[in-house]
């Protein structure tokens, strides 16, 4: 079974802090994704990566950056956390030849106070 893990289930940070959210997948997937999920807004794509050191902006990249130094790991970085970044963050991965069949991690619920 594909396993996508995220470093924390719950995280509380202060405004202005730098925040790192880590995602690791164990199935050698080429593609990895970061979404945020908000009530009434569904899932919105922040960034995705289709290869090591490659990244593409999604629909809402402002205030975020990403890093993919190794194939199995995709990090989301909030350079200076703000209260409007309080959300559930979901990581996903997929095979290179099955781009749309995504496997999701359990999510990180981030609260910025």
């Amino acid at each position: 079974d594909v396993k996508v893990t995220q470093s924390s289930r719950y995280l509380v940070k202060r405004t202005g802090e730098k925040v790192f959210l880590e995602c690791v997948q164990d199935m050698d997937h080429e593609n990895m994704f970061w979404y945020r999920q908000d009530p009434g807004l569904g899932l919105r794509l922040i960034y995705f990566s289709y290869d090591v050191k490659m990244k593409e902006k999604g629909d809402i990249p402002e205030g975020y950056s990403v890093s993919r130094e190794k194939k199995e790991r995709f990090s989301l970085i909030l350079e200076s956390a703000s209260t409007n970044q309080t959300s559930m963050y979901l990581c996903a991965s997929s095979r290179g030849d099955s781009l749309y069949e995504q496997y999701f991690g359990p999510g990180t619920r981030l609260t910025v106070t």
């Binding site: 996508v4 593609n31 009434g40 807004l41 569904g42 899932l43 919105r44 794509l45 995705f48 289709y50 593409e56 999604g58 629909d59 979901l90 996903a92 781009l99 749309y100 069949e101 995504q102 496997y103 999701f104 991690g105 359990p106 999510g107």
Partner: protein, 115 residues
């Protein structure tokens, strides 16, 4: 631009009943995939079913089936003999073939299966 609309924010049905979740979408493209994802409470989101737009036959996965109406741009999910474990948030999603690498998700329908 592509859009996905789920008009039912929340639904409740009794266990063992059949329930249909609605989804409409908009795209000017002809080749695309449609998906239903399920997110149980405090658990990971999983893919339930997928449909290729070029296929006329509706996809089926055990108790889950879809009613794909391409002309009407409608993609509803039917859950037969509903079970308590079907309680979840359900997301309808659209992805264009060979374009953009992105999935467009609807806002979700929260489904409660009542004992």
């Amino acid at each position: 631009a592509q859009t996905v609309t789920q008009s039912q924010p929340e639904m409740s049905v009794q266990e063992a009943e059949t329930v249909t979740l609605s989804c409409t979408y908009d795209t000017s493209e002809n080749n695309y995939y449609l998906f239903w994802y399920k997110q149980p409470p405090s658990r990971q989101m999983i893919l339930v079913i997928r449909q290729e737009a070029y296929k006329q036959q509706n996809a089926t996965e055990n108790r889950f089936s879809v009613n794909f109406q391409k002309a009407a741009k409608s993609f509803s999910l039917k859950i037969s003999d509903s079970q308590l474990g079907d309680t979840a948030m359900y997301f309808c999603a659209l992805a264009l073939m060979n374009r953009d690498d992105k999935i467009i998700f609807g806002k979700g329908t929260r489904l409660h299966i009542l004992p």
